[in-house]
């Protein structure tokens, strides 16, 4: 389970705004007044309609996008320092494998950049590929793998250097439903084995509920957090968890939170958002 409320957060997002300058001088507010604490070992999902800034928020945490206002700290460091310290493992919607590298060489890439020696790289790549159950495919080239397998390689690569935080941007959005559910179990198993903190962007409610310790519900224009739902389904979760009444209740709760956020219209609901988060509790 997620750490208790008094644990020191590993990620602290305080008052973050992100405004993109568009063409012809137009400005888009992608994120507005984002406050969020993430505890070590937590599995937090960001969910919301397209354009709610969930991917931008993920990139702000990972120091791939600079906030216009506010700050992100990771273990008391700036996000930039955390990136330089290789605290982040990134997984995107596309596997982003390098065509010219074999499966194992893709997994070794971050280790090469970190300057790890050859024997260590080989050992880690083997362990990681076994972790994602691709131990028999180390010498294959990416084009020889299916989409789901490629994404598992991407996960192995992201974990290879033991980052403190795994940032996943709709990693299974391009997969069919069956593969996606299998990948969800895979990610849960890996999360439990490694104890990494995971921030997971998705637009699938069942996925968010099934995986997460907490689901952060966002709404669009401007992107903001409208609700944080604690997911108190017992761990370890499995197929059976998807059939419990509590699972359906939580799905309904997230769905209603999404609907209340609207995405279309006004900002009427915003003031409550911060309070809900602070309480971190759910009715």
């Amino acid at each position: 389970m997620a750490g208790s409320a008094d644990t020191v957060p590993i990620v602290r997002i305080a008052g973050v705004d992100k405004v993109f300058a568009g063409r012809e001088g137009g400005r888009t507010t992608a994120l507005s007044a984002i406050d969020l604490d993430i505890r070590p070992g937590e599995f937090v999902s960001l969910i919301g309609p397209s354009g709610c800034g969930k991917s931008t928020l993920l990139r702000v945490i990972g120091d791939l996008v600079q906030p216009t206002k506010g700050a992100v700290s990771v273990n008391g460091k700036t996000a930039e320092q955390a990136r330089r310290d290789r605290d982040y493992g990134m997984v995107f919607q596309a596997p982003v494998l390098f065509d010219w590298r074999s499966v194992e060489d893709n997994v070794k890439l971050p280790l090469e950049i970190l300057g790890k020696d050859k024997a260590w790289r080989a050992k880690r790549a083997k362990e990681m590929l076994e972790l994602v159950e691709l131990g028999d495919f180390t010498k294959h080239m990416p084009y020889q793998l299916s989409g789901g397998m490629q994404q598992r390689v991407a996960i192995a690569r992201a974990l290879s250097f033991e980052p403190r935080i795994l940032l996943m941007d709709e990693p299974f959005g391009a997969l069919d439903e069956m593969t996606r559910e299998r990948m969800n179990d895979e990610v849960l198993r890996i999360w439990q084995q490694t104890g990494t903190t995971v921030v997971f962007v998705t637009h699938s409610i069942p996925e968010a509920v099934y995986l997460s310790s907490r689901v952060v519900v966002m709404s669009a224009r401007p992107g903001r957090i409208t609700r944080v739902v604690d997911i108190d389904l017992p761990r370890p979760r499995s197929e059976g968890s998807r059939e419990t009444p509590r699972y359906f209740e939580l799905i309904t709760e997230v769905r209603e939170a999404l609907r209340a956020g609207g995405g279309d219209v006004d900002d009427a609901g915003t003031p409550s958002a911060a309070r809900t988060m602070a309480e971190g509790a759910v009715g």
Partner: protein, 284 residues
Amino acid sequence: MSAAAGVAGRPAAEPSGPGGAGRAARAVRDYAPAVLVAVGGLLVWEAVIRLANLNAFILPAPSAIIGALIANWNGERFPLWQSALNTIIEAVGGFLIGTTAGVVVAFLAARWGGMRAMLLPLAIAANAIPIIAFAPLFNTWFGLLNPLSKMMMAAVLSFFPVMANVTRGLSGVDPSQIELMRSYAATQSTILRKVRIPNALPYFFTALKLASTLSLIGAIVAEYFGGQGSVLGRMIVQSASALKFDITWAAVSLAAIAGIVFYLVIALIERIAIPWHASSRSEG
């Protein structure tokens, strides 16, 4: 095939097929139709010339061309083999100069966006003009009898496709790959080495194949406008004006063979250098 994405838990294809014997059999199967058509075409050509009793001035029969090739292989007036060698040296020299310059400029252009903005429109404009029209001028600039004048023609023709393609390969990297590298706090030079250069390799080889053909065209056309005697371009011009068209055809055939071999050598290097690229995969 893209169907690969659908099947999870199973490789979409076996790693690059069986070894020697299977590969040879496949090569025969792949190329047999083309070889048959080529041989058939030559036979029809020969038959038509003989049956229609066509004048050799218009079109000599393949047998006559081969005969002229053998007779003049080390000929006094038309030394075809030595000429072919000299022309190939010019073409390959120009190819190397032009390719090197193209790669260097492409790296500079990829490194400095401002330079790219300045150079690329110029390169496109330069590519649109018939550079070959400059051949007589090149002869003046670099010396009519100096092989360098032919090399430079070949070099200029090779330069543009290499520069344009490699620039595109170095800068046209998937933005997610750059984001991923940034998340590892990789330096620009690491990104260049591990992402941009491998990404540019397929573009580079495409350009090399273009440049191989262009460099030979450049060398031969520059030779048409005068220069040292024993080169294919001079052989073609002189034999034609002496009405020895069978020798003209023999020289043209040598040029054609040189072009094809040059191209194939590069295609072979490409297969060895970037076996991961779609163009090199035997499964297609």
